[in-house]
Every structure is written in C-alpha cells, then in structure tokens.
Amino acid sequence: MSELKRTGLYDLHLELGAKMVPFAGYEMPVQYPLGVMKEHLHCRAQAGLFDVSHMGQVILRAKSGVVDDAALALEALVPVALLELKEGRQRYAMFTNDAGGILDDLMVANRGDHLFLVVNAACKQADIAHLRANLSETCEIEEITDRALLALQGPAAEAALGGVVPGGVAGMKFMDVAVLASGFGDLWISRSGYTGEDGFEISVAAGHAEALARALLANDAVEPIGLGARDSLRLEAGLCLYGNDIDETTTPVEAALSWAIQKARRAGGARAGGFPGADRILKELAEGPARLRVGLRPEGRAPMRAHTALFADAEGGAPVGEVTSGAFGPSIEGPMSMGYVPAALAAEGATIYGEVRGKRLPATVTALPFRPSTYKR
C-alpha cells in the first residue's frame, strides 16, 4: 500500500486531539475528543468545521476563453445542463460511463470565464484523466494543488465566516459562489456543503489554510468535525456517498438523482442526450428504472448497516436489494439507512425487511432527506 497523504491541516488535527484514520489515500480525522454523536449535534445546533482538502479542485477553461464552450464541452461527460448555469452559480453533476453508471459525483461552478469543479478524493485522479482524455482538444484542465478546502456548516456558519470576510457572506444564497478578499487571501466560497445544513465550502491558499481554520475555530460556536459525524450528517440529509450509495453500477435514475438531470438534456430538450450512457438513462427516465435508491427507517433502534440484505417478506425468498449506507441518526434519534429496492417496492410507507444478525427486521420506505435540510434558498 502506498504511503498515506496528509492535508495541510494535519498538525492542527493532531493538536485538536483528532483520531486519524486512512480515507481515500489520506490520513484524515475521523473524530475529535467531542466524539461522533456530539460533533453531529453541535454542527446542527451551531457550526462545524470540516477539513475536506483531500477532495479534488479542478479548473476547466475553454481554449476559446468563452465559459459557454467549457460548459458545452463538459456536457459531453455529464447528463446535466451547464450552458444554463449562470455566472456565480453552482450545480450538482455526475460523470457517467457508457453503461449509464456513475463514475463520480461533483459540483460544477460557473466563475465567469471558467468552470470550477470539486470532485471526490478517491476519484480525483481518474476524473482528471477522464477530463484530459475527452476534453483536451477544446479545454485546459488544471488541477488546483496549492489550495486547501474547508467546509463550515450549521446555523452559525454565516456569522462565523462573516467574521473573517470583511464584506460578509449574508448576501449569498444556496449554491451561489463568489471570490471574496479576506485576511487569508482570496477565498473561493460556495454556499453549499454536504450536511443538509446551511453553510459554506471555502477554498483557501494552502499557506493561509491553518490560520483561517484557527480563526474560525476561535469562534465559540465552531467545533472541528471529523469524518464520523460527516457521514451521519450527510446520511440524515439523504445525500449519497460515492462508492457506497452510487458507483459505476448505479445509474443517476436508479440513484433517485433524476432531479439533477435538467429538461435540456432529456428527450425533447434543447440538448437531449449526448452524454455517456444516454440511451439507458433517457430510457429509464421515460419508463422508470428497475430499482430505486430509497430511504429506510428500521423499526426499533438497531442500525441496518451497509450490505445488509433486503427482503420483500418477513420469511423466505431471495434478497431483493441491499443497504448501501446505514447508521444511527443522532438528530432523528433513530436508525436510518439508504439502499436499493425493486421499483415495485419503493413506494413511501412500504415495509421491507433487512437481515440483521440472522433476523429479518422490518423497515419502512421513507422520503429523503430523513431530516429537512436548512439550505438558505
């Protein structure tokens, strides 16, 4: 196994008492002394600071200098409408393969003369190779390696970040992006995140990252949050973890991500199809997929974790699906899972059975998110 990489905040994590674990090739904090449960609840009540510097930051610039050309080029790799993405706005997208599966999910922002992409850590080298292989003729693809990425999430995030950005960030809405000057250099800020909370993701020059993190943590409302709570927060928010809930074998339609495929890319749209796997994805949009990602609320308190086999009945029969993520939800005070079930069993309120330690336990198909999100629309 190759040596684990460290983010620029590694020493700070140790100083804060983090327990470090390997994640996507990096040594990352899984929890701090507060512990997973309290970190989760703190983020929902006040604000949490996450080091997400392991994620990939990529600039995609059309050789023509026109951002629309970069948008059109990238549309060849994602089933998402990017030409309509306005300057200063960000959109969720996914790279698909020829079978309609998902290679990675990502954020795409229009920053005036170029697109800014944030991709998953585990996929970033493959994503960049994929972009270079397909878009090099028309675009320049630049991986940003000299900037850290922080996420500040929770109801107190706006005030805490406002404290270090002179003009404040109150004017930004969910999925807005901006470059704002600060005492820590230019910050590339998006009002987004992966917790279901209002909050921000902040790209900061590596040399200023630790100072910015310390300045944010100096605010009494802000606690550092590890990967453990990041996972329970995103799961309560109904958000997919790449590699668990979505991968090369799941299509966006099966994954209940059809909302991310805008009209322009669907049958009859201005730029229908034209992305890898379009045949299958457009067919599934029209006819419905064979299986669907759903939320599950197990009865009782026992969590149904990833890979729990799902059954249609309390006894007998072969498995009809599998849990892809499962944990205890500190804010909903009960267990929660996501998994794939046949479309016929995906109706809200349906009962499905998960086999936990040899026993089939009932779970109810539940609308996602498990907890209403509090984005600033």
Binding site: M37, R301, A302, P303
Partner: protein, 119 residues
C-alpha cells in the same frame, strides 16, 4: 472487581456476578446507540455471544464470561444506550448471572493486571 481480556468487568453482588464493560472499552467503542440483551432465565456457556452493542462506528458482542444462568438484565440500556458511555462501571451494567462456583472468577485479571493489559 475482576476483568476479562474481552474488556468486561465482573463484580460479585449478593452471590450473583454482575457484568459490564470497562471504561477503556466504552471509549474505544464510541457513542453506543443500540443494546440488545439476553432473555432472563437463559442458560449460557462461557464465550457465548449474549449481548449486542452497536456504536456509531460498528457492532460488537459481549461474551458470557463464565457458564451460568442470566437472572437479570439492565433494561435501562435498551432505552438509553448512551448510559454505556456515561457510566460504564456503574449504572451501565448489562446482566447479572448465577454461577455454580464463584471461584471460576479467580482466573480473571485484577485491576492492576488489567491496566497493564490495556497499555
């Protein structure tokens, strides 16, 4: 108080063996979110998996430390699993066992030996 290599503590109270997990174990587990207890009256053998604990991180089992009969379980843990983190050595006992011969406990570690074991 005696200690097992499975990080259980054993305390004799009114001729019954009371079993819980150590502070070290509760810290390692992280926040406990689910506890499944055996049925009172169950006859168990040493090393049977008789309690399931799920924390925010993973599921683990508690083994019967010796042969015997479960006479009482701590139902409070079912409604409030977090007690295992708050008071592992006190209120968060898991079950009480009747055993034939209390001298079976002599083989387990005392506090000093357990402290050395976890270092």
């Amino acid at each position: 108080m005696k200690y097992t290599e499975e990080h259980e503590w054993l305390r004799v109270e009114d001729d019954l063996v009371v079993v819980g997990i150590t502070e070290h174990a509760s810290t390692q587990l992280g926040d406990v979110v689910f506890v499944e207890l055996p049925e009172p009256g169950a006859t168990v053998s040493k090393d049977d998996e008789i309690v399931v604990i799920e924390s925010v991180k993973a599921a683990s089992d508690i083994l019967a430390p010796v042969d015997g009969e479960i006479v009482e379980v701590n139902e409070a843990l079912v409604d409030n699993p977090g007690l295992v983190n708050e008071d592992p050595l006190g209120d968060a006992w898991f079950f009480k066992m009747k055993v034939e011969d209390l001298s079976a406990l002599d083989d387990f570690m005392d506090e000093e030996a357990y402290k050395a074991f976890i270092e």
